[in-house]
């Protein structure tokens, strides 16, 4: 099975200059936890919900909710995103994708085809396939 068969293709990307507030909104409305970040059409990073969580003021902040949103609106995505992004191709076997996630302790990998981001494969996408893959008997040439 290949990455292209499991990945989510409608994830969409976010600009490096967009704010953390925009990013939080994008993740919420699209129902995703990871956003590939682009600048001038190129993939420059990956923003995860974890990065947003880490950027969020602590439980002991003196900021009000409104102030928090205002502050997040002034922080660009590129300030907190992961820059050294491991990517997949749609043809990458899912076993390799799974190994990459485990070895690098990352939960999402952007899928790139001819320089364009075409989707994201997440740990969840792989785990969701477990019932199908473990349950069925082995069929060669799948």
């Amino acid at each position: 099975m290949r990455t292209g068969e499991l990945m989510s293709s409608e994830v969409g990307t976010i600009q490096a200059g967009a704010s953390l507030l925009d990013a939080a909104h994008a993740m919420r409305t699209r129902g995703v936890h990871h956003l590939p970040v682009t600048a001038e059409g190129r993939l420059v990073g990956l923003l995860s919900a974890e990065d947003l969580d880490a950027a969020w003021p602590s439980a002991a902040t003196t900021l009000t909710r409104g102030e928090i949103h205002g502050a997040l609106a002034r922080v660009p995505v590129e300030a907190v995103m992961a820059r050294d992004v491991v990517t997949l191709r749609p043809e990458t076997p899912i076993l390799e994708a799974a190994r990459l996630m485990r070895d690098w302790s990352i939960r999402a990998l952007p899928v790139v085809n001819r320089g364009q981001v075409v989707g994201v494969l997440t740990e969840h996408d792989l785990v969701a396939k477990i019932p199908a893959l473990l349950g069925e008997s082995h069929s060669p040439g799948t």
């Binding site: 880490a54 902040t61 076997p93 390799e96 785990v127 477990i130």
Partner: protein
Amino acid sequence: MKIKTLLRGDVTTVRDDMPLLEARDLMARHGMRLVPVVRGGELVGILREAEVRRASASTVAALARHDWPRLLERVSVRDIMQPVTATVTPESTVEETAALMGALGVDGLPVVEHGAVAGAVTTGDLLTVLIGTLRHRGEARLDHILVVCDAGYEDEEVAAAALALSREHGARLTLLHPLDQLDRLVRHGAPAVLVARVQEVRARDAMARLRTLVTPEGEQAVDHRVVIGDPPSVIVRTASDIGADLIVMGRRSRDAADRSYDVEDVTGRAPCPVLVTSSQPRGARVMEGLTKEAA
């Protein structure tokens, strides 16, 4: 497969009155993404990395400026833990657990047995199971091919066959040239230093040759090894070391002393299947050509 095979012996939990910062350090030390929260030995909640991160000081200086560190020290696990939505038992299957996590949209669940916490299982744990299963199912087909190149002109055919396979399967290649130990020379009284020098030269030449055999393309991964020892043993040991899924060698493998060793010396002990490429010796082809013309 049951969840119990994933559980490590020690069960780590935190009390709901534990300071957040202490719980955070504990999770970091044990590399845990989530930890069951107990009160009086009873499961009362789940503490996840996500909430811990959110509650911790911001990574952005402009926001961290407004944090009140003293107050953060007073935040306890109870203040940020999540309620328990579902649990699994050690007897639950991996498939059921994966389906449940997917349906709930969570990345971990506590494991309980007879009312007591037996551990936690995360999507990371399930990912490891998936990797193991895919490997055994042959989804990956071939991951790593060991190619034995010590037979002179046949090496090119052996290498070509291995390269074709590796491209088809996305496997990495290790080209191996086993060099015998030249113990004959030593037995006949050659000084050890001289023999060592000779081996160095042979090894260098062998390595240089190996590098010319396969031209890697794109992300093709190719390693080269020259190992001194009894050739069949070297081959079998190397295959084991690198976890090879397949050995490719010529039928007429031989060491530099032109002492043939049998393919059976390898196939009998190999930790994986052996693909033997056979080719006509060039001499035979030439003879055929001559015979036809004469007729």
